[in-house]
Amino acid sequence: MADALSSFRICDFTGILAGAGATKWLAGFGAEVIRIEDPVNEGRWDILRGRQPWVDERRGINLGGAFNNHNVGKLGITLNLRTEKAREILERLVAVSDVVTENFSKGVMERWGFGYERLKAIKPDIIYVSNCGFGHTGPYSEFKSFGPVVQAISGLTFTSGLPDQPPAGWGYSYMDHTGAYYHAMAILLALIHRHRTGEGQWVDLSCTDAALTLHGPALLDWTVNGRPTRREGRPHANRNFWPPMAPHGIYPSQGDDDWVAIACRNQDDWERLCDVVDEDWCRDPQFADAPSRHASQDGLDEHLSAWTAERTKFAIQALLRDAGVPVSAVLKPGERIDVDPSTGAFGLWPTVTHPEIGEIRVDGQPVHFSETDWHYERSGPCLGEHNEQVLTELLGFTSEEVASFQEEGVL
């Protein structure tokens, strides 16, 4: 099968997840992604480099499982950009790349002498996509960020919570994943524009701005109606207000921290739910129609929780699926990866072979293309694994030169 993006080369300084996730997508569709790391600190700017989870008792810079997960399909080289020689090598690489991309804080590339103007001087139609967290302009441009900070500032931590509780937030870096999705979109959009016009550009991506677009109509409710989301009874994240649904929530079930999500979209769903539950409260007039159920949702949830608590989540899921009510067990990682046959059947967890780790499963992509599907065979690169290959085959250095670069601390 052909690759969609095999004609593009990416000079890739990104890392961790917010950046690495973007170039992982491109690599899956065949782009040549050359990831560049700092040999002096063994690439540890990327906090996942050489960090847990591990497959076994072995520890080492190349054995980090999360790093491998986010960097499959990429080539890896080292360049110590404190040295003049490394900057010359970088200049050669930029000259043959379509895209230069990074997620450092503001000013890092500039300090190396590789700001956008210089990149453009080396390659006039270069596409440069940076994500420094808050963007390169504005009062917070110098501030650094990780996913939880982006989520906090943008309001995503706040809206994920229950009333009368502190914010629950996201139990992971949702905005590193999602920042990576916008980062990939930025690169693809700029490539589409260049294909049409021949023009490159610098896309100053701000992951936090992207996060602020994810509130649905809440911000219009603010600008049009003056209604804040910080108010009595809110947030109530497991309920649905647009459109109102009741019952709608995550309910306790039998088992070890087991839960089940149930949603009644309309009167039909409610009646189907009642046919299954068939207890007196189902016929209580205060639950008779959608507006009254919405008005008495706390009481409704209490009754439904008492019913769900006496059954297992999978038993409830089976009963309500048969009845045609939207339902899902809250799946634990092992359940969705190894028990639910759907993810495996979709091919969602490909296995790559890592030179040191061995065979290891990774996150795939949740899509399939009929003509140019994604695929990952190559593992995340070991530190400097492709120095020789990239410098000789692509950049025209000799093996002897590469060996001396290595000795001089350039690579």
Binding site: A4, L5, S7, W25, P53, A66, N69, G138, S145, P148, V149, S154, T159, S160, L162, P167, A168, G169, W170, G171, Y172, S173, Y174, H177, A184, M185, L188, L189, A190, L191, I192, H193, R196, Q201, V203, A210, L212, G216, P217, L220, R230, A237, N240, W242, I250, W259, A263, P326, P333, R336, I337, T343, V362, D363, P366, V367, H368, F369, S370, T372
Partner: protein, 425 residues
């Protein structure tokens, strides 16, 4: 084109000249908006009577009514709207005529509906050979589970995100970030569309793309998936911070103004401990924290402090313990905003837990032009919308028009197709 509605583009968007036909369904509305705001000519196809989301709250000025749904306004910017009855042969003819002019079909129809109607990818390819057809379903087109009824909440529960989100107190339920189940799927629909369009621009070939909404959730869970894939470990949810295999220290602190702050990862290098030590003293809080002396020790440390030595090395344990206590103490004495800005000025990565509207009113985002007025000619006023997720200087994001009224562009679009308006309604 009725260019007077909405804003005119300063320059063409990246997707200028790309026509997207979107079959109106809630889960993909955001994908169509993203493509439209990036410059595509998105034609939203609704059934007679309109898409149900037209009647979702909240409403403008809290008055329910036709064309007053803010939900609709938000998710359907930069689209033109037409009515086509796909259950009617004349309607399908009209749809085929539209597809003949389209680059992309974006749909989230029930799994077998288009095939039954004779307008699935195989049929449409003979009309438009290089069509990019993006189909979004709960479990993918091949999986019968895609036929089950679903909502954003049930997709999220099945896909994995809620397992990781919630509170230290596990008697409280896991929590779903509202709307994001659909949003995650839309992000993958858009990345797929862009990738396929680029491939088509080079090769001339279109293709069919199968997007699974639950699979999208599954690969948007960070450590929950890879801790299982790599080590068969299950992460456990914790209040306001990463779910983890082993419990970690709290990072969320109530501030003096009743709002919360995220105290972040704290310092790792001597420089950071020195900055924290200095700030604590400036605030006159040094005396309140007996263990603050360990910050001075951290400030004198050579090289990065190894966080994995916490619990093993007494000095390192004390230094990190002191920095966490200092951050929490400072946060409790300042407003969340003061804490955030103070930390960041000291080089420490931390944040204030804003409500969405608080972020929206923040000067930083305003300075990016994030507040975007869109003229609603029917109301005779500007409405301020959230702005660009991505600012592309050479091919800018823009809201080119407000959301369409039902059938608003029937005449215009069908005239473009040289068809008669009363043909296939």
């Amino acid at each position: 084109m009725t260019g007077a509605i909405g804003n005119s583009r300063p320059r063409p968007g990246a997707l200028q000249g790309v026509r997207v036909v979107e079959l109106a369904r809630d889960p993909i509305a955001f994908a169509g908006k993203l493509l439209g705001d990036m410059g595509a000519d998105v034609i939203l196809v609704e059934p007679p009577g309109g898409d149900p989301a037209r009647r979702y709250p909240p409403f403008a000025d809290d008055e329910p009514g036709e064309d007053r749904s803010l939900y609709w306004w938000h998710y359907h910017t930069s689209k033109r709207g037409v009515v086509i009855d796909l259950d009617d042969e004349a309607g399908r003819d009209r749809f085929r005529a539209l597809i003949a002019t389209a680059d992309v079909l974006l749909e989230a129809e029930p799994r077998q509906r288009l095939e039954t109607l004779g307008i699935d990818y195989d049929d449409l390819q003979s009309i438009r050979s290089d069509l990019v057809h993006v189909a979004v379903t709960p479990y993918g087109r091949a999986d019968p589970k895609s036929d089950l009824p679903f909502t954003d909440l049930t997709l999220m529960a099945a896909g994995g995100p809620p397992w990781s989100c919630g509170y230290d107190d596990h008697s409280l339920p896991p929590v779903r970030g509202p709307l994001q189940g659909f949003h995650i799927a839309c992000h993958f629909a858009v990345m797929s569309t862009l990738t396929a369009l680029l491939h088509r621009a080079i090769s001339g070939t279109g293709q069919f793309i199968d997007v699974s909404m639950t699979a999208a959730g599954n690969v948007t869970t960070e450590g929950a998936s890879y801790n299982w894939l790599i080590a068969r470990n299950t992460v456990q949810r914790q209040t306001g911070r990463h779910a983890s295999v082993n419990p970690s220290v709290e990072t969320q602190q109530l501030c003096a103004d009743g709002r919360y702050a995220n105290t972040g990862v704290g310092p790792r290098q001597a420089k950071g401990f020195a900055a924290l030590d200095k700030w604590l003293k400036e605030l006159g809080l040094f005396a309140e924290l007996p263990e603050a002396v360990f910050l001075e020790l951290g400030a004198q440390h050579e090289g990065p402090l190894d966080i994995s030595k916490i619990g093993e090395d007494d000095e390192i344990t004390a230094i990190f313990g002191a920095s966490r206590a200092a951050l929490r103490l400072i946060a409790s004495k300042l407003s969340a905003q003061e804490f955030f800005v103070g930390c960041q000025r000291a080089g420490l990565t931390a944040g204030a837990v804003n409500a969405p509207e608080e972020a929206f009113e923040d000067e930083h985002f305003k300075s990016h032009g994030f507040q975007v007025p869109v003229f609603h000619e029917d109301l005779g006023r500007d409405v301020v919308y959230p702005g660009a997720p991505i600012r592309l200087p050479e091919c800018p994001w823009a809201i080119s028009r407000r959301a369409p009224k039902l059938g608003e562009h029937d005449d215009e679009v069908f005239a473009e197709l040289a068809l008669q308006v009363d043909g296939g309604r």
